[in-house]
Symmetry: C3
Subunit: 399 residues, 3 copies
């Protein structure tokens, strides 16, 4: 893959620029009320499905998944807190985050004191709405700016949560892009967060763009699997249904479940800033303005560079090991000497110095402090000149 791979013929319809495509997708996905189950997840997969031929899976509520059980499905028609004049002072229709996710149905008249245990605010960020969930304990609640809470009188208030919590399904989408080997790279994005832009919408947008680019590559060494699933229970559900796939996973990214001792997959997490290290995390301040197109593109291109390493790393042997071969007469060295060597020449010298049949190109780039792409280009130029030959690696299966 190359960084320009997204400029391919036959790319999905939409804006030409990946940054614009990703932000356009995020604008459509942002208002949906996603949770770990429900209509919002399905609507999200519909939109991703416009770009990618997703396979959609539905797992019934009540299914046992390791230590967990798939939840009942949750959907919301309306939810609000209204004052005695009927004015909605907290309204789910204004912002998904106003309602605690998985709130059970309720219809009551309560004083502020009675209501207060069900209200969540952030004292030190008085203008932000927090994001709260109650997936595994039947409860209900509202989230609101602390300043708004302080302005509320003693009530009474009409409290309505018009939701359903009933047997249904957990839904996730999956895309398998075959490669020359069955060895797999798995990339997952969570689809369970409501109107929060950086966490998780940006992940959905970048993963969609990546899947398009990987699918458009003329050939792939690895098989790539993209997973769009809710966090924790979604990851576990996928893991419980794919035991035969796990031994083939060579690289991937997800979070706590894939790395659990019983699975121990070689996965990590790719994020610009870990959760909990930015104050906007899990609040209404994580909105569309918080995410910049340039940073989405930067993340997308960074992961493409990782794919480039996965696809193109390899082990070579220097065929002219007794001193430096004369690069000049092969057109690989500037004919006028005396200048400090440029990066391309340095990449060739480092490659010749370390390509002993055991070190890989990424190893060499790391030792040399050079970009992998430079070392890859150097190895290609040296191989063309007959100065380097690839070494078959043990254990790379093509079966």
């Amino acid at each position: 893959v190359t960084i320009a791979a997204d400029r391919r013929a036959g790319a999905p319809a939409g804006p030409e620029d990946p940054g614009e495509r990703m932000t356009a997708m995020m604008r459509r996905l942002f208002p949906l009320c996603r949770s770990i189950t429900g209509d919002g997840v399905r609507a999200t997969l519909d939109i991703v499905g416009e770009r990618l031929p997703l396979e959609r899976h539905a797992v019934p509520s009540g299914t046992q998944v390791f230590d967990w059980t798939v939840n009942d499905e949750w959907n919301v028609r309306d939810a609000y807190v209204a004052d005695r004049h009927g004015n909605r002072v907290v309204d789910f229709r204004e912002h998904n985050l106003h309602l605690v996710s998985y709130s059970a149905p309720v219809r009551e008249r309560l004083t502020l004191d009675q209501l207060r245990p069900h209200l969540h605010t952030l004292r030190d960020r008085p203008d932000w709405i927090p994001y709260r969930t109650s997936y595994y304990r039947r409860d209900w609640g509202f989230c609101l700016p602390h300043r708004q809470l302080e302005a509320m009188d003693d009530g009474p208030y009409d409290v309505v949560v018009d939701s359903t919590l009933a047997p249904g399904e957990l839904t996730y989408g999956e895309l398998l892009i075959p490669g020359e080997t069955d060895d797999e790279v798995i990339l997952t994005a969570h689809v369970c967060h409501p109107s929060l832009a950086n966490d998780n919408l940006s992940g959905i947008a970048v993963a969609t763009e990546l899947a398009g680019a990987v699918a458009a590559m003329p050939a792939r060494r690895y098989t790539y699997r993209f997973l769009f699933a809710p966090g924790t229970i979604g990851s576990l559900t996928w893991l419980s249904r794919n035991a035969e796939v796990l031994p083939r996973i060579r690289h991937g990214y997800d979070e706590r479940q894939f790395n659990a001792i019983g699975f121990d997959l070689a996965v990590g997490r790719l994020s610009r800033t870990p959760h909990g290290e930015y104050p906007e995390y899990h609040t209404s301040a994580d909105d569309l303005d918080f995410v910049q197109a340039a940073e989405l593109v930067d993340s997308y291109r960074s992961i493409l560079r990782i794919v480039d390493v996965l696809e193109n790393d390899g082990v070579y042997r220097n065929c002219s090991p007794y001193g430096e071969p004369q690069l000049g007469r092969r057109g690989l060295y500037p004919s006028v000497g005396g200048r400090t060597a440029d990066d391309a020449v340095m990449a060739m010298l480092w490659t010749l110095a370390y390509a002993d049949g055991s070190a890989g190109l990424l190893d060499i780039a790391t030792v040399a402090g050079l970009d992998f792409a430079d070392v890859r280009a150097a190895s290609a130029a040296l191989a063309d000149a007959g100065l380097l030959e690839p070494v078959a690696e043990e254990g790379s299966s093509g079966a």
Copy 2:
């Protein structure tokens, strides 16, 4: 052991607060004229013995101890330098440090020039008395502030050292607190320095306090040995008489002798500031004002935390390894989600992620950057919930 272990029933008499107990002990011990042998050592062990049931050992002068020989015993009745009017210008009775330790008896009239080779001062700290010894060469001398030396006229002076240097004994105290195994932790404090507060009095006070806390623990995995002995010759004497104990020592603290190649015990040194890295070291400025109760308590609690690790570190296996177990339904996870996890939850997640039957709790705390106490509490909570089980470690003998 817990940090609150010192608040136990049946604690030795004295102030309730460990800081007050330690400073009170130091105030009593400070004026005694300790050296590597003599009445000062015995008086010191008497005072420690009020708190701890010390076993006292006496080794005769002349006993061969590896490359060394136990010294003659040294005691002092009086020592001074008096001017021609009979005024004591340097007086041992005013400060122990005025007399070079192990000074041989002398009674002479000398001019300042004759006296000068026997006078020790610190030019760059003109108000401090240095601490000097001559254990292994028969000599005598006085230490004084440099400013005082400069004020002395040509003399003559009457010089008196009314000391005895004669066959006697080297004395040390020992306390063995048995545990469930014979594996030993040895803690030593030196008892050879005269009126010097940080080096060694603070060590005696902290070791005494620690011994009390360890003895009060309801059970101990390790056997603990506390040693109150003079430096070098005292440590060597103990080593020469305890060959059968050495193979059982697992942890400890002392200095150069225990680590010598022929013993090579797993010991280290616990001190806030190493000797030679503070100017007051081995001078009269290392007095009772130089040592703060808060720092004594901090040292004491720090070593208790080490004891906590020794006693409670262990290897566990995650019994629910396929993804994260559902902590919520076991009451181990906050029912309202969305917040950044607190330290207790993080400690459980780290423990579950690394408790593979080979990593110990201290390893996990180190990897996670968490306090050992948090990881220990997490492991206890998880074990109570049936999510974690202890793994028998090889080689831990209880015989």
Copy 3:
């Protein structure tokens, strides 16, 4: 060897001070027109030969050397660019760097536009002459300050390079100083750069001084080989002719060729500032003023310290391992105690603590953070006192 070894009787004629000797040699060598072959190399070896009994080698042009071929020999009588009034505006006789090294003969009248592709300048250092070469492509050119180029009118100019490029020889000098073993330390200096002081003249001067000091040592554990050869093709030529020597090389310094995968010698580079990390590199600003006598001496003494380690590192065993031996009664410890130990005593204590028959003196110095010379002196004192004995190292051949 000791740092004072250069103060030996029978030292070569010249100033007494090594700094003065090195700068005097550099002043004589600076004006010579060195390249990878030719009269300048031979004149350089003549001057080094006044100090050292160099063996001189000549390898004919056209000789195949691994992937390379020994060049034709290059010599220059005169070279200039003159304006239409006959004034030399660029003149090889004023500075060697004005002529691109290995320029082929030319005699033409050219306008500035025709001449311009053959002119090399540094835009961002407009007062410096760059150093350029064209060893392996037949070409010619002149180097000049950019400011000077800007002052030139449209011409025409008379361009003369009165050089010869014809079969001859590649010349290098070699000095073998035998030691007790055949194991070799190789030190090389390049002799191919024209009037450039730091790179390479300082290397020639320091290597010459070192060779004198090593030759004057009363005995040597290692055999030392000093090589004065042109870069790349010179190093490769020596490597191609000394296959039987290579297995004996234990330590050395050179650059890319000696480390090539096919040779993989244990060599490194000794330089104060690597090439490319100072702007004066390969320009006329790398002149005699750029190199300070004090830094030459510092480099020389630093390498002597390395030789000291190579010659004197060794493995010892503590013969009195049960605690610290009593240094005082052997005169190795100050009789008056209480002071912080000085470096000499600390070096003895560290040596006793680590001399277990496997750690070497350099290992001990590194662990202790002490100078190797201090640990070496400590080991000598302890061995004299019977407290330390040398351990025969495996694999040190004396055959």
